[in-house]
């Protein structure tokens, strides 16, 4: 049986690989991605905010575990993120930047996540995996915990996107089948939500579309047409879970399909990689991808510079098993 440690390592390696693979495809149309790469299967450069924020989220769990609260998360922002925002803050999403502004003004959660206009950002979904790792087999608790984080920087569908991904990872940590994992994601969010509607719609598109029309059908099902940004959680989470299903829960198939969809491709890849990596464990992540994942640079979050996702995974696994983290 695959150990929690192996699944944790697979989850965060898959996240980092999907992030890095998808980065150059962000905001491109699927046709343009095909034109440039055919199928995008090889990591070209480093990862982005998805990986760095996930490491930061894991550090919150390491310190506070099930006792995590929005107030503790806000304090971490104030102590560890804001002092290092030296001039411009690079590589973060609107929601994190808006949250930093709100915290600087002295607001407290949940207002910090409400006063900017990007509550639906996929910024929580992109970093939700550690909460799922921390609650294997308990999607409801994973969702409750990620919401503590999300209340600081998001609201509404942004929090639901985080809950869905944390729930999916928590289920995948038990090796559940792909359909069961997506059911677990749906079980921790209201059925009457944009995210749930999109996940159901994407699933139906997968079932109904001819193989060569799946990309177009998924876009038609969930992509917002008249809005210039692509970092909407209801869209990114639905596309990522669809990619997970389309890849039958296998890391390489799920991630390469996910990034082929364009839009917020790095986050789609990161989520698809995290969920499938938790399900398959470290051995499920292609070795050529794993070889490309080094310590993060801290370009988005200076506080995590030098950290490696595998160390983070080991620490999270250690919290579950009571063992100290081993070397990488």
């Amino acid at each position: 049986m695959t150990s929690y440690r192996e699944r944790a390592r697979g989850c965060l390696l898959g996240l980092a690989a999907g992030d890095a693979l998808g980065a150059p495809a962000e905001n491109l149309r699927p046709a343009e991605i095909r034109r440039r790469w055919g199928r995008l299967t090889e990591i070209e450069g480093g990862g982005t905010d998805d990986t760095e924020y996930a490491i930061f989220a894991a550090s919150l769990l390491g310190r506070h575990g099930h006792g995590l609260t929005p107030e503790l998360v806000a304090r971490a922002y104030r102590d560890e993120i804001i002092p290092r925002v030296d001039g411009p803050m690079r590589g973060a999403g609107f929601s994190e930047l808006g949250t930093v502004e709100a915290l600087r003004r002295g607001l407290e959660p949940p207002l910090t996540g409400l006063v900017h206009s990007h509550g639906w950002s996929d910024g929580l979904a992109m970093r939700a995996a550690p909460y799922g790792i921390f609650c294997p087999g308990d999607p409801a608790e994973a969702a409750r915990l990620v919401e503590q984080d999300g209340l600081v920087s998001g609201s509404g569908e942004g929090i639901l996107g985080g809950r869905a991904v944390a729930g999916a990872v928590a289920a995948a940590m038990t090796g559940a089948g792909p359909e069961d994992v997506v059911d677990a994601a749906l079980a921790v969010i209201p059925g009457d939500s944009w995210t749930a509607r999109n996940v159901r719609r994407a699933r139906a598109a997968l079932d109904d579309a001819a193989p060569d029309e799946i990309e177009a059908a998924l876009h038609e099902a969930v992509v917002v047409r008249h809005y210039p940004w692509t970092d909407l959680a209801p869209e990114a989470v639905a596309l990522a879970l669809a990619a997970f299903l389309a890849g039958d829960g296998e890391v390489e198939a799920a991630v390469t399909f996910g990034v082929s969809l364009g839009r917020d491709a790095d986050t789609i890849g990161a989520i698809a990689g995290a969920v499938s990596g938790a399900r398959q464990g470290e051995s499920g992540v292609p070795a050529r991808w794993a070889a490309r994942i080094g310590p993060v640079t801290g370009k988005c979050l200076p506080v995590v510079a030098g950290r490696h996702v595998l160390d983070t995974a080991d620490e999270l696994a250690g919290l579950l098993t009571g063992e100290p983290a081993k070397g990488r």
Binding site: F94, L97, G98, E101, A102, P110, L111, L114, V115, H116, S117, H118, W120, G156, D192, W194, R197, N198, V224, R225, H226, Y227, W229, L232, P234
Partner: protein, 321 residues
């Protein structure tokens, strides 16, 4: 008397809509597309050559009338709402699907949702701009009619977007009935829970404006209190409705002070002046609005809803006295 205030609310919105800097941008939509493309090219030229002379909308080989002071998007959507107010809201919106029109992201997305079979309230909720003030603008119509704007609002908006509509309608209804800006603002505030962004901001804005003492004086404090500038959408209900309430209050309901102050809140200059104009127009009535403004703001351009080109907005208030 309340007829004068009904007309004041409608005309006031149009005046504020016309007063903001973005009005001529919207009205320039009546020009050929190359005209706006050239505008962007001139902006790029200025950037490249480091000249500060910003291009303003121009009418090269195009009619000049759209660039004169006049109403734009918000006045047209208010007119459409007055014209369709007696119809079921979803049905009214459905008739717009496929038409050549221009609208806020919330409305465009809602029409797309309706077209895909996503019904209200999901049409307004599954919507990246659920928070914008499209419904708050339309709510001025329901305010003068004394009706609840919620059914209308939730077609295109959710959350703060719907709360903003309720607050605007209540404030306009109260202002039409009483002419009292303090009571109008209180009626709005009653509908804005403190734990929401719009409720939080409204209280912040009102106290900032009260400290400043006067509408124009309040502008820097409102900018500091309401805008985060990270990605400052100009038409978020949680910013524009509080700004309108605060400036209406700080001016004592005087449109001639409140509307130009709202136009100075640069990032909100698209719709905050319009909402401010509706509130103060309702308080002071039509006759208190400078004649030069009502004369130039009452005829619609059709820049968003082409069918309304040439429509006299004030004609639509005739049955409402």
């Amino acid at each position: 008397m309340s007829g004068d205030r009904i007309r004041g609310a409608v005309a006031g919105l149009a005046v504020g809509d016309a007063a903001g800097w973005p009005a001529s941008r919207h009205r320039a939509a009546l020009h050929a597309p190359w005209s706006r493309r050239l505008h962007r090219e001139l902006d790029a030229f200025a950037e490249e050559h480091r000249v500060t002379t910003l291009p303003v909308p121009f009418a090269l080989n195009q009619p000049t009338a759209p660039l004169a002071v006049g109403p734009s998007d918000d006045a047209e959507w208010l007119a459409w709402t007055l014209l369709t107010a007696d119809r079921p809201r979803t049905a009214a919106f459905r008739e717009l699907i496929g038409k050549d029109l221009r609208a806020r992201v919330s409305v465009r997305t809602a029409l797309d949702n309706l077209d895909r079979g996503v019904e209200p309230p999901a049409s307004g909720h599954d919507n990246p701009h659920h928070f914008d003030d499209a419904a708050a603008v339309r709510a001025v119509a329901f305010g003068v009619l004394g009706r609840d704007p919620s059914d209308d609002a939730q077609v295109t908006n959710a959350g703060d977007g719907v709360l903003g509509a309720r607050a605007m309608a209540a404030a306009v209804t109260t202002a039409v009935a009483s002419g009292d800006v303090t009571r109008a603002v209180a009626a709005a505030l009653d509908l804005l829970p403190e734990g929401t962004a719009i409720g939080h901001n409204a209280r912040l804005a009102l106290s900032a404006a009260e400290r400043a003492g006067e509408a124009f004086a309040a502008v820097p404090a409102l900018d500091a209190a309401l805008l985060d500038h990270v990605y400052s959408y100009g038409v978020g209900a949680a910013q524009t409705v509080p700004a309108a309430l605060a400036l209406a209050a700080a001016s004592g309901g005087d449109l001639t002070r409140a509307v130009p102050a709202a136009a100075c809140l640069a990032a909100l200059a698209d719709s905050a002046p319009a909402l401010t104009g509706a509130l103060t127009g309702a308080c002071g009535g039509f006759e208190a609005i400078p004649e030069g403004w009502t004369a130039s703001a009452r005829t619609l351009a059709g820049c968003c809803l082409p069918d309304l080109a040439g429509q006299d907005l004030m004609e639509l208030t005739k049955g409402l006295v």
